[in-house]
Symmetry: C2
Subunit: 641 residues, 2 copies
């Protein structure tokens, strides 16, 4: 059943902003207010400011020396000093007032004494070395203009000119109201040892608060409102009395959304619902009591996107009384340090007619700056925390091929010249190298693409370092044949990091009593498999063949996990009975581990990258004592002799 | 008498910074501290952070639909739905926990009902539409690294992962101690109707506080310390116990400086004194109780320069535990938005071997971006408040010719494309046009160079608009001959703004009973003259000639003031007995005014600039009602018919 609404739905991000701007933009008289000097920093002046006092308010000496009447120095020189009797000169420090009978100051360097007679070696003009009254600014002079932002220098000048109350466009008073029965307050969440299933931390208010702080704005946070439409309506009606802007954090479930819509409709006029962007689609805005009320969908990334695309532009506009290009507002909202043009390292599919907000990582190999999307849903915070930047694909973008041009708003500080890109086999111990490498002045980013994927990327100049543990089933050797094949005659260095133990990972206590590959092949078990090209997958396929089995004999063979931890997690949560992986993954989740093979784990680095500062840092980090101890604590690793 | 000190003196700015860096740089263990989530924004992590909880901590539905066991949907399609009996499915919202007997969620869109039997139209794999436990991050996973700044996303992630206390490099605790007997606290300064001569507002603490706030750091402000070396020493010794960084605001007088030096020497080790830069030369630093103590010279601009060049680099370094290029630190200290290459509009002389900090204004005429220095001493705040940017000339710079390349750090937000440069005759009423022009979307900057200077600038394409009131003594006409001469056949538009009354300005009550030019020429009076090329100067010279006098007959003829207000101020403060100027200048200072001539005040605009948006705004502003009323209130103006 499709209900026709009286307000626009499924509109574009730009349309949503234009609706907000036309509903609430421009200078509002409500926002003009007087603040004290110390509260005025960064605010926009609501009118011209006139000095109320001359600065300085007296004629002051500009040097250390003697205040005199200029006429008493007439004709003076080093050869023929003027003689000034006592009573006709007086010592003044820099900044001191000069007596009313004097009109100039003789610098101490240009004077001497003969008993108590002052010798002047220089002839002065009236006002020489004197800061006249009002030299800085004069009373009634306009010293700052409507529309200017109050700077530290202006604040000081206002004080000197005795301007006490500053007419400004004050910041909008904003409140964020988190809602939802499943949402648990920060205090309770941290106090609980094991939160109940189905609950979620009220983390969005921290995100909203911190983001407002970065923007230089304030926001109040309301206690959590339960899923009760009457309570929500009451809270909304109160909030629009006290606040200028009201933000409602609503859950993303369909039921919740309808519930919020109803409250918005009952309290005021809904302006729009649903925006054609991903994430952030269920955003909604209303005008209640003449105030903007915006619904932020509950998932963290959705909240972020609506803050950037609608809330900041709105708040900035009302706080400045000015219009800015939307692009400028978006960049400011993201606290974007720069915009970079990058090439997509991996293709990305976007939906037709929907803006796509991407969190991307960036690395430069040789001359090419690559970006790749941290794939994850709106619910995943880690990708946002880890991103180097954000890209907002236009609605027209569909299939972005590998190598497509993508503009990225940079949101993290990093030195791209000191960063290397690692592609290859997943290993938790290797990922612990980030901090040792950074301490050595380098930086590294990881893409887990399997051993084969890493070598292939290296052959295409798409990374600086690969890592592999690929079994050659013809002779039982590792990596040799594969590296030779991908290197195609180029000079690639190989560094053996460690040997690591692969094994069968099963549930704690091994309830199915799985002892070997034969058990897996013969039993009715679900297996969590790894992606094609992963060294662990190559190993598994080798064992399958050795046991005379085909993939179709294995339940779950099509379940492709890209990391050891992801595969082990499937076993842990009961989605699979077994997987193949390294000991540290089993240990991290308290799973049982049946060792099957020790394999060498090698880094592969083209000779041309060996001089890169981060490669040097990486190689040196392999000897790092703290790191080696951490690896030994993880278990399942053996250092080469 | 030259005393040889045991510490470096008269060093370069870079040397001063290197001394501070080597004395206090690098990560100090003192700064590592644990803070709560809400206090962590922007701080640098002191160690890697591991998740303490899986996020999510349970297997959650990723959609709205029915939790089922995947096997119950085997082979389902729209043609052949799977039938799932009651008890084998349960409704789940997005984010809800799925029951332990289920392993996947059937989207509501893919389902229907036959009575209470669920019809599934899609075959599901185990874990379909389920966010597995730890999908976002897993317990024990490193979720942020040492050295990273805490972002809003990280704060939220920390909460979700139950990380409560964040190990960070805390911000340095800093105190600013203003000193000086002449310094008056903010409260007293504002409360006083007329402050005593020789006193000055304690404005630097407001500047320091606001600048720290812009930087994202905190600073405490001490009450003012009198000029007493024992009290100062005691205050210093206390401050270095409680604070990490101590800033002392010292006067610029020689006596005061020696006094501070003595306190520094007695309490610890002086690191350097005097820096080869202007302003900021009397800066000094010491190590007391192992802490950095920096002396900021008292003049506002000197304080600013030392904050930028030494204090920010020091604080940023200890707060991040990292090294940054000095240039980067300086730009951050100035909160510089951009760096522009400009051409000097007017030559600037710098001293040999001394870094010169310039406050500059900027405008672009045709393709050339010009900058010019707002000439003013270290004591003048207005120039800093008014500047568009700051340029720090290298020590090697000496005579910077007109047209020299100067790099400017932009510190103000403005749209250069909408800005016009006005050069010409000074008039207070014209300067009131800034706000009306800005309200119309334009912007204007003024250079007061006299009528002749303005026409000359226009002929060299160095401004968009000139203004003139030049008397042709051969026939008594105004401007015609001069404009013809400078335009050299180019098409220049003329806009008559108003007629204004010129007159003799004398002290209040006219104590010398000056009634006419003859009186000035014949009496023994000091005259405040205007600069050559000013229309008012041309007028004065005409009257001199008419009275048969030569410049040498007039006392003060060589006193060149560049504005009406400056000249009137000389009369007001008794430095001159009379000047020639407009009525509004006399009125502003309560001086007497004897009218002598009404003159036309004209704008001159080349035809090619008539389409500039700010020219359009200027011309429209001349009709602005508010502005016209203000001009009429000023007095001495008459609108043309």
């Amino acid at each position: 059943m499709v209900i026709k609404r009286k307000y626009p739905e499924h509109i574009s991000m730009e349309e949503a902003w234009l609706i907000l701007r036309s509903s609430f933009g421009g200078i509002s008289k409500n926002y003009i207010s007087e603040v004290s000097l110390s509260d005025s920093l960064g605010l926009i002046l609501a009118s011209d400011i006139k000095a109320k006092r001359n600065v300085p308010h007296y004629a002051a000496s500009a040097v250390d020396g003697y205040a005199v009447n200029a006429s008493s120095t007439a004709g003076a020189s080093y050869a023929t000093p003027a003689l000034i009797p006592p009573g006709c000169y007086v010592w003044v420090n820099t900044g001191s007032a000069i007596p009313s009978w004097s009109n100039s100051v003789l610098m101490v360097e240009d004077s001497s004494f003969d008993k108590d007679t002052l010798l002047a070696f220089k002839s002065l003009t009236p006002s020489a070395n004197v800061r006249p009254l009002g030299e800085d600014v004069m009373a009634e002079q306009i010293i700052a203009r409507e529309g200017e932002a109050v700077s530290p220098a202006l604040i000081s000048l206002f004080l000197c000119a005795a301007v006490e109350k500053i007419p400004v466009i004050r910041k909008p008073r904003t409140i964020f109201i988190p809602t939802g029965d499943e949402v648990v307050s920060q205090e309770i969440w941290l106090a609980e040892k094991k939160p109940k299933s189905g609950t979620v931390a009220e983390s969005n208010s921290l995100f909203v608060k911190a983001t407002f702080k970065l923007w230089g704005f304030d926001v109040d946070i309301s206690p959590i409102i339960p899923d009760d439409k009457d309570i929500l309506k009451q809270k909304l009606d109160e909030a629009v009395q006290e606040y200028d802007v009201v933000l409602v954090g609503a859950g993303s479930a369909k039921g919740r959304r309808d519930h919020t819509t109803e409250a918005f409709e009952n309290s005021g006029e809904v302006l729009f619902r649903w925006i054609r962007m991903r994430p952030g689609r269920p955003a909604m805005a209303a005008k209640i009591n003449g105030k903007p009320v915006i619904c932020l969908p509950g998932f963290p990334m959705s909240t972020a996107v609506v803050l950037w695309s609608l809330v900041y532009p709105l708040i900035k506009s009302v706080a400045s009384g000015k219009d800015f290009p939307y692009d400028t507002l978006l960049k400011e909202a993201l606290v974007c340090k720069d915009t970079w043009n990058t090439k997509l390292l991996v293709q990305h599919s976007s939906l037709a007619g929907i803006r796509d907000w991407l969190r991307v990582k960036i690395a430069r190999v040789k001359e090419t700056t690559y970006s790749w999307v941290l794939t994850s849903g709106a619910s995943v915070l880690w990708a946002l925390a880890e991103a180097d930047g954000v890209s907002c694909l236009p609605e027209s973008a569909l299939e972005c091929e590998k190598g497509s041009d993508v503009a990225v708003w940079i949101t993290r500080e990093f030195d791209i010249e000191k960063r290397i890109l690692f592609q290859g086999s997943d290993d938790p111990a290797i990922q612990h190298l980030i901090t040792p490498i950074r301490r050595r002045g380098g930086d590294i980013v990881f893409r887990t693409v399997g051993s084969m994927g890493g070598l292939a990327a290296l052959s295409r100049d798409e990374c600086h370092v690969a890592a592999a543990h690929l079994l050659d089933e013809t002779d039982g050797t590792y990596n040799d044949m594969f590296i030779e094949q991908f290197a195609c005659g180029r000079e690639w260095e190989r560094i053996l990091v460690f040997y690591r133990m692969q094994g069968i990972i099963v549930q704690s206590g091994n309830p199915n009593n799985i002892r070997s590959f034969e058990d897996i092949c013969n039993g009715d078990y679900v297996f969590a498999n790894r992606q094609p090209g992963a060294g662990t997958r190559v190993l598994f396929d080798y064992y399958l063949k050795k046991n005379g089995k085909s993939p179709s004999d294995i339940k779950g063979y099509e379940q492709q996990c890209t990391t050891h931890m992801e595969a082990a997690n499937r076993v842990y949560t009961g989605l699979a009975d077994a997987t193949l992986g390294i000991k540290s993954a089993a240990d991290a989740l308290g799973l049982d581990f049946i060792p099957v093979a020790e394999e060498p784990y090698e880094l592969v680095i083209p000779a041309e990258h060996m001089e890169h500062p981060a490669v040097a840092a990486l190689l040196d980090s392999l000897k790092d004592k703290e790191w080696r101890q951490a690896v030994e604590r993880m278990g399942g690793y053996r250092w080469p002799n």
